[in-house]
C-alpha cells in the first residue's frame, strides 16, 4: 500500500508541459520531492530508461521506488495518494469525465496545432492550425464559465485538474503568440481565460515551474533544428 510519507522523485525537464503537470500537482498537495533534471542534449539518463522502459519519456514520478508514468496518470495518482484537501479532480463523476475528456482533447487534438503556429510550415498550414486553436479556446472559455462558477480557476477557488491540463500549455501558447504575432487569448474572444492565465501563472504552486517565454522559444528553435538534423535510425 502506498504511503504518503515515502520518498518522491520527479524525472523531467524544465521545458516540458507534461513534467510541469506532475510538479504542480505535488506543489498543490505540499509534497516535497527531488527533481532529477534530464540533460536533453546528452541523451536519456539511465534512471529514465530504467523507470520508463516502454516509452522512455518524461515525466516519471518515482514514489517509494515505484515508477508512475504519463502526466495525467501522475496527477490522478498524486490526487489519490495525498487525498486530503485540496482535491485536484472534481468530486462529481460527470465533471470528472468532462475534465478527463477535455484534457485528452488538449493533448491529442489541440496542442499539435500550437506547434504548427509557433513553427509554421507554410501559410495554409498555419491558418488551419490557428483555426483549430481558436476552436479549442472557444470550448475552453465555455468550460471555464461552467466550471469556475464565478471563481478564479476551473477548479473554483483552487487550482484543479483542468487548470493543470491547460495551464501547463501557457508557456508554449505565449511562444506561439510571440512567434506568430497574433493574440490567441484576448479580451474580445476569451476574456475569462485571459484573466485566468494571469491568476494561474502567479499561483504559488505554479510560478516556480512555469518556464520563461524567451527561454522556451529559444529551446523550441533548438529542438526543431536538432530534430531536422538528427541522423535517421537505420
Amino acid at each position: 500500500m502506498e504511503r504518503s510519507d515515502e520518498k518522491v522523485k520527479v524525472v523531467g525537464t524544465w521545458s516540458s508541459q507534461f513534467v510541469m503537470r506532475a510538479r504542480i500537482a505535488l506543489n498543490i498537495k505540499s509534497v516535497s520531492y527531488e527533481f532529477h533534471q534530464e540533460r536533453l542534449w546528452e541523451g536519456k539518463s539511465e534512471l529514465l530508461l530504467r523507470s520508463n522502459p516502454a516509452q522512455k519519456k518524461v515525466p516519471v514520478l518515482i514514489h517509494g521506488g515505484k515508477p508512475i508514468c504519463e502526466s495525467f496518470n501522475i496527477v490522478e495518482y498524486v490526487d489519490e495518494v495525498w487525498s486530503s484537501a485540496p482535491s485536484i479532480l472534481p468530486s462529481d463523476p460527470k465533471e470528472r469525465a468532462t475534465a478527463r475528456f477535455l484534457a485528452a482533447y488538449l493533448d491529442e487534438k489541440w496542442f499539435p496545432s500550437m506547434r504548427t503556429v509557433g513553427y509554421p510550415q507554410g501559410e495554409d498550414a498555419r491558418k488551419a492550425a490557428i483555426a483549430q486553436l481558436e476552436k479549442g479556446l472557444v470550448l475552453l472559455e465555455e468550460a471555464f464559465v461552467n466550471y469556475s462558477k464565478g471563481k478564479s480557476f476551473f477548479g473554483g477557488d483552487q487550482i484543479g485538474y483542468l487548470d493543470i491540463a491547460f495551464g501547463s500549455y501557457l508557456g508554449w501558447l505565449r511562444v506561439a503568440e510571440k512567434m506568430s504575432e497574433i493574440k490567441l487569448l484576448s479580451e474580445a474572444k476569451t476574456p475569462r481565460l485571459l484573466q485566468w492565465a494571469d491568476s494561474f501563472s502567479s499561483h504559488a504552486a505554479v510560478k516556480d515551474v512555469m518556464p520563461d517565454t524567451e527561454k522556451l522559444a529559444d529551446f523550441g528553435v533548438r529542438a526543431k533544428i536538432l530534430k531536422a538534423t538528427a541522423t535517421p535510425k537505420l
Binding site: M1, E2, A54, Q55, H63, K66, I68, C69, E70, F72, N73, I74, E76, Y77, E80, V81, P93, K94, R96, A97, T98, R100, F101, A104, Y105, L139
Partner: protein, 223 residues
C-alpha cells in the same frame, strides 16, 4: 436494478470501443437502452451529444453525454460501485491506466497502419505492431489477467480487442503476427478472456466484422 430509463448507450455492435462499455455495464448488472448508430449516416442525436469528435460510443446518463470509451469505463466505475473494474490501490490504477493508453495509442496505431498500408510501409507497421505486442507479452508474464486478479477488470476490457478483433484486422489486412508460440502469455490470456460468459455473449459475429473491415480497407487502402 441500477441504471434504467435514464441510461442510454449510443454505439455499434461491431465497434470494439462500444463493446467495452457493454461489457462493463453487463459485468456490473446495470440496465441501459442500446441505440445502434449508423456510422455512415450519423444521427443528429450523435452529432448533438458528441459535436467535438462525432464518434461512438456515447453514454448518456440523465440526459448528459459521457464520451471516449476509457473515460466512460471510469465514469461507470465511479457511479456504480458494485463489482469494481478498476483496481483499488493508486499504484495499480496508474499501472492499468498507463497500459490502457499504450494499447490504444501504440498498439492500435501500429495495427491500423499494418491493416491499411501495403509494401514497405506495411512491413514497417508490422514491425511496430510486433514490438508493441512484445512489450505487452512481457507485462503479462506473471499474471493471469491484465489486472493480476481472478476476475477480469479495466485493463482486460480495454485489451479485449486484441483477443477478438485483432484476428480479423490481420485477416483482412493480409498479415499475421499473433502466434501462440511467439506470444504464449497473450494467447493464454485470450483463451481465459474468451471464456468469460459476459464477453462471449457480447461479441459481434465474425462475418459482420469481416464485412466492416473489408469496407474500411477498400475505402482507405492506397491504390
Amino acid at each position: 436494478m441500477a441504471g434504467g430509463e435514464d441510461l442510454k448507450l449510443l454505439g455499434t455492435r461491431q465497434s470494439m470501443f462500444t463493446q467495452r462499455v457493454v461489457w462493463a455495464l453487463k459485468l456490473k448488472g446495470i440496465e441501459y437502452e442500446f441505440i445502434e448508430e449508423d456510422l455512415v449516416n450519423k444521427s443528429s442525436l450523435l452529432l448533438t451529444l458528441n459535436p467535438v469528435h462525432k464518434k461512438v460510443p456515447v453514454l448518456v446518463h440523465g440526459g448528459k453525454p459521457i464520451i471516449e470509451s476509457k473515460i466512460i469505463l471510469e465514469y461507470i466505475d465511479e457511479t456504480w460501485k458494485e463489482r469494481p473494474i478498476l483496481p483499488q490501490h493508486p499504484h495499480d490504477r496508474a499501472y492499468a491506466r498507463f497500459w490502457a493508453a499504450f494499447i490504444d495509442d501504440k498498439l492500435m496505431e501500429a495495427s491500423k497502419k499494418a491493416f491499411a498500408l501495403t509494401g514497405d510501409d506495411q512491413v514497417k507497421a508490422i514491425e511496430s505492431t510486433v514490438e508493441a505486442l512484445q512489450l505487452l507479452e512481457k507485462e503479462l508474464h506473471v499474471k493471469k489477467n491484465f489486472g493480476g486478479d481472478e476476475e477480469i477488470g479495466y485493463l482486460d476490457i480495454v485489451a479485449g480487442w486484441i483477443a477478438y478483433w485483432f484476428q480479423f484486422i490481420e485477416e483482412v489486412g493480409g498479415f499475421k503476427v499473433m502466434e501462440s508460440a511467439k506470444f504464449p502469455c497473450l494467447d493464454s490470456w485470450t483463451k481465459s478472456f474468451l471464456q468469460v460468459p459476459t464477453i462471449t455473449q457480447n461479441l459481434p459475429p465474425p462475418d459482420e466484422l469481416r464485412f466492416v473491415f473489408g469496407a474500411i480497407r477498400t475505402a482507405t487502402c492506397p491504390k
